[in-house]
Each structure stands twice: as C-alpha cells, then as structure tokens.
Symmetry: D2
Subunit: 469 residues, 4 copies
C-alpha cells in the first residue's frame, strides 16, 4: 500500500488547455479529476495572449480556487498542476506552475516527474550567477531556457530539454504558445485530446472525460509538441528514445478510469488479480481489497477463484488534513484512524486480503492485525505486484533502499513480520502479461522491482536514496 | 440514489459516552465514523459532573473540532451529533446538541429522527409563554421536560417523551446522568456498547468499531435507558411498543460495516443484489454499481449471475462544499460534476447498472446518459428496493408525494423517462427476505413503499409533505 | 484609565433605523461609529415587513459583516448592537440583537445597560417553565413580554419594562414596529434623529453624523417611543422618572464628537481639564495626556495653565486581538506592549500627566514608570474625575469594591503606590460644573464616586460586586 | 494629507537584530512599532547560524505572525520588513525579506527606499540569463551580489551596492553576518542601537523604545556596517557621500516619537506649526488638525497664536481592509467613511485647519467641506510644508507630476479648488528652520518642493513619473 509513505520525489499531475474561452475553468475541472496525483498544492496560470497571470496555493483544488480567484483567470490558454510531495521542503514557492516574468516576456512551467541530474545542473547554473527561488527540480528548465543561446524560443526549449536526465512531463507556456514535452523514455503518462477547436493535455485521460474532451493520442517519448493559434506542430528533441512507462502508474498511482498507452487501469488491475488467482490459489471464505487502489485486483481475484468478494475493510472518506490523530493511549485502547475491518463480514472467516504493494511492511502488518482483531481466522495476503526491492528515481514516492522491507528480506521473513498466514507476490511476468501489451516487459520501467533503470543515475542522487533512512 | 435530495426532514447521527476520561475524544472519533449521516453541522457537549459545556458549528467533524477546542472539552461524559438537513432553515442555532442552562441545572439534547406532532406541541407551549430558540423539532422535548410537574428528572423525561409522536433516538445529558430514549416503534437505530467500565451509545455500530468498544445490545422501542455512576437502569416509558425499523437504513443510509438489529448492512445489500439476480436475470456483459451505496448490491448481483462486476462509474472523492459547479454552458459541452462513466470499461458493452433507489428520477436519467455517452450499447437499471411511492415522515429525506416519480407513474413510464433499456425494482418480499429476519415485514417500517405508517400522522405534517413541491 | 478592566457588566452600543431602504447599510456605518462602545461582538437584525433575519458574530463590525452577509440583510428597518463585555460567559449566543421566532411572530432585542434585578426575574421565570438560551440579562425582557397577559404588543412591552430595575436602553423590533425604551432614570444615553423620512436611534450622536442624519432629541427617562409606518408615538411607562445620566459617559466612555444631553463630550472633557488647572496648578514643563480618552482634558489643562501640551505618550494603533504579548522575560528587558513614552519629549522635563480616572492603580503606576524611564524628572498625575470608591451596577465595567484602589486608600497612599510626585483628583463639584448644566449634580448618576445610587440594588447583585475580587 | 495616495514607490520599514536569543520576538515588536510605514505585507527571516528561514505574508504584523509561526523562528539573528506599496503589482512574492537559497549559502534582503536605475540593471542582468522572481527593485541587489567576481561576501556586497543609484536602506543577512547599508545620500533614516550584547537596527528609533534598546547612532550615508559574532565593523563603499535626508519623514511619514538625525519628529512638527503662526497669523476661533499626522503642527500653531486647539475632526480607528465602502448613493446622502467633523466643536466657528501637505487636493477639499457642513463659518487651511510641485523618486509615494495639484496651479487657484477661505503653505526656509539643524537646507532632500534632486534620475524612471497619470 504505497500511499502512506512520503519522501523526496514528486509524483504530480499536469493539465493544459489551448484555445478555449473557458480555459481556466476547464483546467479547474481537469485538476480536480487529477487530484489523487497530489493534494498538497495546486495552481493555474492563464495566458490572454498578452500577459500570464496565476493563482496558486497549498491545499486542494476546491480550497485554493475560490470563485473570486477564478474570475481573475481570464484568457483562452491555461496550464495547471497538482502537487504531491513536500520535495525540497514544501512551501508556497514550490507550488507549480512556476511563473517567470522578464522584460522580454513571461514563461510558466508545470512539471510531473523527477530529474536525476538536477543537482549538478543547479550547481553549474549557480556558479554562473543564477539565483534559484524554489528548491524544486522543475525550476532548472527555466534557467536552461533563459541561458540557451538560440534565437527562437522553441530552439531554446529543445536545447534546454536535451540537458535534462530523468523523468519529466513538462507543460511550458508563453504568452502565445503552449509547449508539451515528454522525456526520451516516456516514463510518465501524458496524453492529448481535443475539445471542439481547443487542444487539451493531461497526465491522465480521466481528466479528458470530466470535461467531455476527445482523446487523440499519447505524447511520445522525446516529443516536443508545440501548440499555438496555428495548430499543432510535433518535433523530436531526443536522439534516442525508447518507451519505458512507469509500471506503478498501473499498479497503484493512476485512477481506475484512466487509460495509459491504451490500457484501462481498472482492467489492468483486475487482470493482475486474475493472474494472482492462478499464481496463488488459496482455500478461503472471502476476498477483500485494501481500499481504494486494490479493489479492482481483489474483484479480479474473486471472480477468477469464485471466492465471494466482500467489503471486509472500509475507509473513512471524511479524513482530511485537519483530522486529529488519536493519542497513543487511545490507539492502544483500540481507537482506529482511517481504516476499519468489518466484523460482520470477516468474523470467523478465512480472508484473502489483496493489496497493491508492500513498501515498508508497517501498513500491511496493521491491516492484517485489524482483520484478525475483527475475528478473521486466517489472513492470506496477496500482492498484485512483485516485491519492491529498489528505490525509484523518477518520481514515485517509495522510500530509500534501506526502508524497503523487500530489499533485504525474504518473502517468508516478510510474512512473519506482517503476521499473515500466507503471503504471495505477483510475478513480474504475470504483472506484465496482465497489461496485454505486445512489447512485453521492454515497454515498461520495472526499476523498483528489478533494479534495471532506463537512464543513468547520478552519484549525488544515488547517495541520497541509499543513505537517507 | 437518495443522497442528492434535500428537504424538511432530519436524518442525523448521535453518539454518547459515560464514564471515560477521554469522553470528548471518543465522541470525536465516533462522530467521525457517523459523518455519512450528516455533513452540515456537528457538536459535542461534555459534562465534568458539575457543568455542561459544548462546542458546535456548521461543517464537518474535522472542520469544527480543532485541537484547541477539543482541549476545552474536559469531563468523563459526552454526547455528540452530526446533522444532515437544513430543516427549519439551518443555521448555527439548530446545530445540536442543544444546550440549556438554568439556575437549577443544565440539560443537553441530541436527537436523530423526526417528530410528527412537533408543530402542535410548539403551538401549545408558545401559548403558555415558552420561547423557542431553534426552528428544529428537537427543542420541544426540553420545554416539555421543564414544564413537567414531576419532581424527579427521570419522571419528567418519561412524561415528556410520552407526549412525542414520530421517530426519535434521543440522548439527554445532565450534569450527572445520560438518558437514552428510543421511540415506541424503534424507527431509528440506536445501540449500546461498553469500553472497559464506560458505556457508549451510537446510531450505528460502526462507531463502536473505530473506538474499540464492544457491542452489547440495541436500545429497545419505548425504552429509556438511564446511565450514571451507579450503572445502567432500563425503563419502559411507552404503553405499546412494536418494532418498526426504517428499511431505508439498510437500503441506503447506514454504513456497510454497521450491523442493525444484528444484520450487517453490507451483507443485507449484497443479498438484495442476489435476490435481484433471481427476480431480474438479464443477459449483459458487465455489472456496475452507483457509488458508494450501491456497490454491495451490484457485487451480489454479479456474483449470483456470473456477469463480471466492473468499475463502470467512478466518483470524485475530493468534492466538497467549496466545489465550483460548472456553468450551464460548460455542462452542455460535457463537463461532469462528480460522477463519471469509465469508457474503458463500458464501451461497446451491455451494462447492468445497480442503484439503491429512485426518488425523482433525475439522477438515474443522468447516470444512464453518462453510460450511453461512454459507449454502453444497452443500460439495464436494476434497483435494490421497491418503488418509493410515498413520503417519509420519520426523518429520511426523500421528497414530497408530488416529487416522487413512482407516486403516479408506472415502471414502464419511469423506464422511458430515465432512458434505460430495461428497469426492474426489487419486490418488497425480496427486500425483506434479504434481511433474513424472522419477523418478516412486521418488524420494519415500509411506509415509503407501501403507504402504511406505524404512527398516526398529524394534519399539518401531512399538508407539508403533500403540498410542498 | 478605565479601558483595561473587564468584569460582569455590559456597556454596549445600540443603533436602529426605521423606514429607509438601506437600513442594514446605515446600521453598519452607525455601529462602526459606535465600535468604541464594544469590540467583542456585533449583530444586525432587519425587518422587511414580513420576517426578521439577522447576522451576528464575535468580532469587530468590519470582521463580522462581509459584503456577502450584508447582501442578505434586505428590508427597510434594522437594529444593531456592539457588545463590550464577556458578561455571562461570552459566546456566540450572547451576541445581540437577540432574535426570537414564534408561530405568532418574531421579536428582536438590543440592549445597552445592566439590570439589577435580572437574577430574581430569571429565577421566577424559570420556576414557571421558561428556558433561557443566553446568560445575558437582556433576554429577561423577551420572556416578560411573552408572558404578559395584555392583548396588544405595546401594552405587553410596557408591562414588561415596568418590571425591570436598573439601567437600560432597549431597541425592540417586530415585523412592523420599532420600539425604543429608556429606563426611568435615563442612565444610559439614547438619541433620536431623522434621515429624510426615516427615523434613526443611537446610543451616541456620533453615529448620526457619519450617516448624515439630523439630531432631533434625546429619548426621555421612562419613555417608550413607538416607530412604525404611521410615524412616531411617545408613551411614558414609568410612574416616576428622574434624570440621572451616567457621568462616566462624559469622563471616559463616549466618543469626543458625541453630544450627550446637548453637551459635547470633547468640550466637557476640555472643561474638566481647565477646572483641574484651577484646582491643581502645578509648576511643570510639559503637559501630556494618556491616549486616547484623556487628550481633551490634557489640552484643556495646558491651555488654562499655559504649560505646553506635548505628545509625551504614544499608543500603537495596530494592536488587535491577535497581538502576541511579550513574555515576562522580554517585558523585564523593557519590551513595551501598547503604550510608549516619547523620550524626545519628556527627557529632563517635569511632566503633568493627565488621565481620566484611576481604577485599580496598576495602569497609572505603569505609565508613571514609563515616563520616568524615558527621563522625566517629575511626574505629576492629575485625574479629570474624583476618586472611584464604589462599584457601578448599571453597566460601566469598573470593578468590585475590593479592587478599587480608592475604596480604602487615601490619595497620598495612592500617590505612593503609583509612584507619582503629586496626585490630584478633580472635585465632584468641578466635574459637574464642567458640564455647565443647570440641574447641577441632580441630573447625573454619581454612584461610583459618592455611593449614592438612583435605584435600589438587589441583594444578589450587591453580593457579586462586593465579594468577587 | 499624503496618506491616501498610492503609486509605484515603496516607503517601508526595516528592522534587524544580531546576537539575541529572542531575535524573532524582538523583530516582531520592532516591526509592530514600524507598522505605520507599511501595512500591506510583512516578513521575518531568522538565522540560527546554519540556515535561514522565514515567515511572510500579505497583511499586518499581528495578522501574519501567529504564535505557531513565531515558534518556528528560532535563532539569534533576524531581519524583518513592513511593506507599504503595491509597487510592481503586489503579491506574496514581493513581500520582504526576500530569501535566496543556493548550494553555497543563503541570503536574505530587506529594503526601504527606491532605486532609480533598477530597470536598466534588470535589463542587463536578464540579458545575461538571470531570472527575477519578484517585480520589486529590491531583488536587483541579490543578483549583483551573486554575479560579483569578488571572493569575499563583504566585497561582493560593496561592489554590488556601488552599482545602485537612488535611495536605499538595506539589511542583508547571511547565516553568519548582518550587513547594514545606507545609500550615499542617506535619503532614508536608519539607526543603530544596542540591547545588552545584541545589536539592533531600525528605520526609526521608536522601534528601539518599544524593546528597551539603547540608541547608539545613525547609519551614515554610504556606510556598510558589518555585524557578526566578532562585533561591529564599519566600511565606506561610496566615493562621494553627502547627507540629504528626506524632508517628508519629518513632515508626514515618521512616527512622532521617533528621532531622526537627533531631532524628535513631534517637536519638529510642532515647530513647523509655530513657524506657521508667524508666517500665517489668522483671526479665528479654533485650531484643529487633520488626524493623525497633523496634530503636532496644529498644537504648535494653537500654542503660538493663543487660539484654542480643539478636536474638530475625528478619525474612526476601527477602519481596516475589510471596511465596506458606502455606495455612491449613500455617500450622497451624507454617509461618511473614516473622518468626521465634530459639530459640537466647529459649529458657528472660524476654524484654522492644519494639515501636513496637499498632494492632489481632493482630500483637502473633502475635509474643508466636512467642516463647513458641520457649521464652520470660515475654514482657513494652513499647511505645515511648502507646495509639492515635483514627484519623489526615492520612495515617498506622492504621485506623478501631472497629478500634483501644485505642479501647475497657483496657491490662489488651489484655494478656490479646495473651497477654503484662505490657504497658506509654510515656506521652505521656515520648514528647514523648524528642524534647528546647523547644515540648513543642505542636509535634506527637498526634491519634491524644489525639483533639485540629490542623484541623477534615469530616463525610464523620469518617463514613468511624468507620463503615468
């Protein structure tokens, strides 16, 4: 269950519109659909052809954008961002889109992903006199663009992008252009749609559905798409580009109603559950999933095994930032926080509990315990992905190598730690097969499972992830 | 889908603790578990044996109770309330618990339900010089208690309760006693649990689970339970009492992990879905449920028919009070609000859409439309309850007779209005059978389906529900 | 310097309009002008001829009344209130106007003053079954009106008023009438004005000036003024009424630009300062006043003695409720809070410091100390009123008998405690003469100076003021 | 009356502490004392020797710094800022201190004043690839420091300062040093004090008084003062420096309890009033001053002429940002906003109204009108400074040349426009003489009166001030 761990990386959501009179409003609804990708901050910048202006803040889309503030965001182009992590220390400054004004024009940036050479680039730029206002990786691109010697903005941007290593889906807006760039491995999802004459881009296709936009295609690895009042122009800025979509988008991060590279996420997860039924057939009374991300896999497992799916775990949907955590004393007396087991469903039963992943193991141990306290006689844990043995350098917020329980423990050791009666992980082959893609494993980044990463990793980044803890 | 209609009535949640040093904190977690029963206002009143003091406000539990405010709520007894409706005009005054101070002592009240003779009682009391501070029914009880001639508080309360008609679960707290009362038909759920030496009462058992309390029994129709430092004392204040639990608690209102009269709500709903599979077998490709309340029935239907259950509809969980509604123009362009259909799941498919109920029909029509726009070739609507033909006088917020689509239309007419390829309602017998209770239909209030109400209905109340619209 | 002491009593401000389409807006500006009379809470209730509705809250006029809330307050009649004290425990409930709805009509109340028999009346009313929602004295009147046997509202009100003892300026509004009542001694100021065809009433005439209303006359002791669409009607509800205006309104409480009983407050204070120059001629270099209320008297003193008036003390005008008080450690290092002495003005000088009154003596001691630390060689304190030896029962928030430094100490003892080089109080005769009124001392309540009160004082009230401390 | 006009310039307040464990708290009280210099934004940055961190926001000191936020500001050094204008578009980004982090250390800046070559410097820096995050002049210094080739921070700062033209009082803090710089003409006030072993700097000496710090001396024109744990070091970074203190600090801007270059501001203003009595003796009944800044001059005028000083104008002190302005309709009916004339004082009187300055004339016309409406038979306006004929380029927020009523109108023309019975301005000689300084006019910047500015003015700046309107 990945959701509860936070670290350095940034997994976020981006959304952009070009050519629609309600650009800011559409961005509002698009960001709202992408809210699961980041709840810590959000912003919108609009262009009216002459100037860029923006609103941003720390909080949810529905908190930051009041009717008053939305009324100020006039113009037919907009980009927006929802931000996940407190990478680089958090704070208002780091909330995106970043907006840069100069005497020769303005530039707005929204970034999803993580650069692996951000620190070295920053070091070089600072040595040349640049001043950074944020502690986020994303600002590096603005400085590279500004310092590029090329005369045309598009060349400046391509030149700057070619210096970045890592994962990035970038929206770059000037007064009269929206540029959309994806890293040469296409590590993060980014798609294009149209809405009448307008173009829309988003991290996930679910954002198209809520505004009634029609999906056109995915942005390609190494592509720079330039959108302006003359239409679309596609350029390739990378010499070599090979697709390596992040597998965790399917396993855990994206919304079930999104399609990534043409594959529906709910269906992918259900298929992972079905594969697990083959790889790990268990004699049990009920199947339950850990809400929200593991429900699809659990239903697939139930359907394939014939064991009834039941709502054995329930999550309180009213938990917000202001929820008062129970004291240690109350927790020991049994006060739960967000997740409860349903006694009426699991009491006296042998339970298969389906989860999407195990990171540190603490959450799994807690949930197994909840189920047993509620009367489950056996708890069999099945995980719809392989063991996570390595950190992610591209924006999925897992943990350092040391913190990952599977980095140095066997499955049997993990089973004992989490207190399950059995523990099964889906095989890498099974996971890939569940997506039904023809490229097989080659089309995906499986770095966190296998340790094979699509890009080189810079020493300072490596050190961070291996020695933090 | 009942959740979107608002009217006069009040369905709320109550919670109380006696004899625990963290009484207010436990009430906070209990109310948080009951938040689905009311999101418009909440309050807690504590007693430290000498004085009653409270905090209340309009908003969610996590919004109203800050750490600062909680710190003031010291004492070993507490009652709390979450409020659903804007009955009587809303406003801070109507948020409960109501708290009354006098030179002879204080009294706090929390009420779930709806009185049918509130207006006539108010009229009499005002004629005698009483001044009401709220426009809620609930305050009537306080005036009846104060004006009762009996010497002892318990007798005053019993005397006052005997004058009330309708549905009520009342928590009444003084400096040194917690009184718990249920109307003579037990129309609303109310249960008792213990936590060490402390007693806990709540509208639903899910509130016991989150605090680790152990369920003891349900409060009986016409019972007045008196809890003080000497323990429990149970009295019966009604001459005739016959159980008539509100059926809509099972169908729609309660949380799936709660048990009502010993029946788990998720299981009841799943059984309703299974009964529907027998009563309405359909040749289709996928089954989907309208989130959140119809998921259990949809899974039951899928399990019984063998048609795969899929996540064909998805609800944005970040919608709050401050969500900016799309303009009419944007809505016409396809901007969705809270619910979207998952194209990747329903496109080209014959879909069975399971919902819990149909009130006005507008929501059903909208959802059928969403599914068809997303590419469903057929949409078969199956409803896990019978047609609602009559208003509720006891606190379920349906609508007036005129507004209820089934009050004067045939099933075929409704099918055409909502645009479904077929429409089936569960039979009353099937619904009752799904609960597996021995009393059969006698133990339940089926008024909204059958028009037979367990209590007399007062003329002014009748008029309201029949002529509003 | 009276402003810093808080207690039981309530000194407040009231404002009302009848017959103007912008009634709520005018009330907003009127209350804003009366803000000095109470900063803890404020409210406005409007009548549109059919219903009464209101907005109220704890805070300043500019904080509670947002543009959104004001937009809801439509109607051509309004009453408003600013509240000073935390009498009765504070809280939203006690903020006025109080608003009472019943099946036979609504009633709103705004009250300035203090009743001396409130407790006994409450006791009787509760014994008869009434429930009080507030802990303020003011609510008693609503219950007396409701229980009055008279058929007509005006008679009910007169009957109810006749049972009250103490100080009160009441505004009472129903859907179609504004009733204005002043206690039989006229202890609190209350005046009438017109604005075109509309009538306006206010605690102080400064509220007329800001809205451009024309002063007509003062409300008379024991008068009930009834304003409705037929015009004005004046009735007398008290058998005996003798004027006894609170002297402290002149000395300290009212705004300098108000006129009370035809006497301008600034001028009255300046005259008090001039009288002091005669009664206490001092050989000094500069005169300074304690801001804000003592500036007028200080200027009068300077003018009459020829000693230059200087700004020797300065108050930070940005102090609000959220000001963080310095820690004890910082205070000992010399961090000041709100008031500072101006070294450039007082260093090496013999200073006459003029203040309006001495209550506990702590503030005076602190200010004398400030001046000496800033280099004053001598500090002569002159007070523009006599020693306060007795508590006030009518709404001026002084203190209990025990807390009053002058209740049991001689002037020489007080001088030593506050560290002044000399200390002079204005004589009672001098103070009265400064007002230039023909009635002499008879027209004023001098209770806090002389111990002679215009009304009887009830035992429970007496006890409170004498034993609190 | 200068206070009501806003434009490009920034007049602000700065405060700094080095070497005190309560550095942030002292800065809080210091900024609170300087709040009159800027109400639109405020911030504090602290250094604990290792890192710099800050809190800032748009609002008053008491609004931005909550107890929670103050608790985070640990460290023995701090700088703070209060910001006046919305120069450059306002917004959170422009609130100071500005804080810059880099891999080689951090830098915080707080600036009072206005640079005249900011635009040309920005242009050069952007051409070299720098990105500006704010639209304020103040950020230029950070880029100049970063790009300076010198090895040592102090040399970098001196080199950077030498490129600035205009008015500036800068506080520059790194992890282990506080640098304090004043422009070569000393146009803005800046003083040094000690508090035990700690050093304190502030825009005005009133900030020293509230924290009990002892004034040492003023910072000299062209001085760079370096404060660190080794003590103080003073360097001169400008080749030519000649004192030219802004005269408007005495006339209008500073607090009356501050001393500037050893002259108390209240005393200076009172002397200006006394000079006016000689230059403009008038036969009148009362003298009144426009609050707050003209009270001292009015008292001086009254004292010298023997005409009584009265409180003829009163300002509502509860006006805040959220005050709802009256509609045009209500204004025409006479609803006042913030300032009222006191009828009881001015009715039937010949009034001398003393004000500090006339900018556009609209405010003066409004006040003359208020006095006449309140019954003044004659209104004689005396201004305690000469006519303002020219814009200020150094941070006093007057207006463009076109907007200044005295730029092209004679005194008689102005008198007619404002509707006064007579109008007199203080002579330049009289104003300078009132300060009693030996340098005479040479020590002051009189640019706005005479058009002679101490620095060259850059073309782009000139254009702005002359063509805006």
């Amino acid at each position: 269950m990945l959701a509860e761990i936070k670290g350095l990386n940034e997994e976020c959501g981006v959304f952009g519109v070009w050519g629609h009179q309600d650009a800011a409003q559409l961005t509002y609804y698009g960001l709202h659909a992408l809210q699961h990708r980041g709840q810590e901050g959000t912003g919108i910048v609009v262009s009216d052809g002459t100037t860029l202006k923006g609103v941003k803040g720390e909080g949810l889309v529905t908190e930051i954008f009041t009717a008053d503030r939305m009324a100020e965001l006039t113009g037919s182009a907009a980009i927006g961002h929802v931000r996940y992590a407190t990478a680089g220390g958090g704070g208002y400054e780091n909330v995106q889109p970043l907006l840069f004004h100069s005497q020769s024009g303005s530039l707005a940036l929204a970034h999803n992903g993580n650069l692996v050479n951000a620190n070295s680039l920053k070091h070089q730029l600072e040595a040349q006199g640049s001043i950074f206002q944020t502690s986020s990786d994303s600002e590096v691109l603005a400085h590279l663009i500004r310092r590029s010697g090329f005369a045309h903005k598009n060349d400046q941007v391509k030149n700057a992008l070619s210096m970045l290593k890592g994962a990035y889906a970038y929206l770059i807006m000037t007064e009269n252009e929206l540029m959309v760039a994806l890293d040469p491995h296409g590590l993060r999802p980014l798609s294009l749609a149209c809405l009448g004459d307008a173009y829309v881009v988003a991290s996930e296709t679910c954002a198209f559905d809520v505004i009634g936009a029609e999906y056109i295609r995915d942005i390609q690895p190494g592509e720079l798409l330039i959108i302006n009042d003359n239409g679309l122009k596609s350029e390739q800025f990378a010499v070599n580009s090979t697709k390596a979509m992040c597998m965790m988008e399917y396993v855990y991060f994206s919304r079930p109603d999104s399609n990534i590279l043409g594959v529906n996420v709910h269906t992918a997860r259900k298929n992972m559950g079905k594969r697990l039924a083959i790889e790990a057939p268990i004699d049990a009374d009920v199947v339950t999933g850990v809400p929200d991300s593991s429900i699809s896999a659990a239903i697939g497992y139930a359907e394939a095994t014939g064991i009834p799916y039941e709502m054995g775990l329930i999550k309180n949907k009213y938990v917000g930032r202001t929820f008062i955590q129970p004291t240690q004393a109350l927790r020991e007396q049994g006060v739960k926080m967000k997740l409860s087991a349903v006694r009426g469903v699991v009491e006296g039963k042998r339970v298969v509990m389906v989860d999407d992943s195990i990171v540190r193991g603490t959450t799994s141990r807690r949930i197994v315990n909840l189920l047993k306290e509620a009367g489950a006689t056996e708890v069999h844990v099945v995980i719809s992905s392989p063991p996570i043995k390595n950190p992610c350098f591209y924006g999925i917020d897992t943990a350092t190598k040391e913190e990952l329980i599977a980095s140095d423990k066997s499955i049997e050791e993990i089973r004992q730690i989490i207190g399950a009666d059995s523990l099964t992980f889906l095989s890498t082959e099974g996971m890939v097969a569940a997506l039904g893609q023809t490229e097989g494993a080659n089309g995906f980044c499986l770095g966190c499972f296998t340790g094979n990463y699509p890009t080189e990793i810079y020493p300072d980044t490596l050190q961070y992830y291996y020695q933090r803890g």
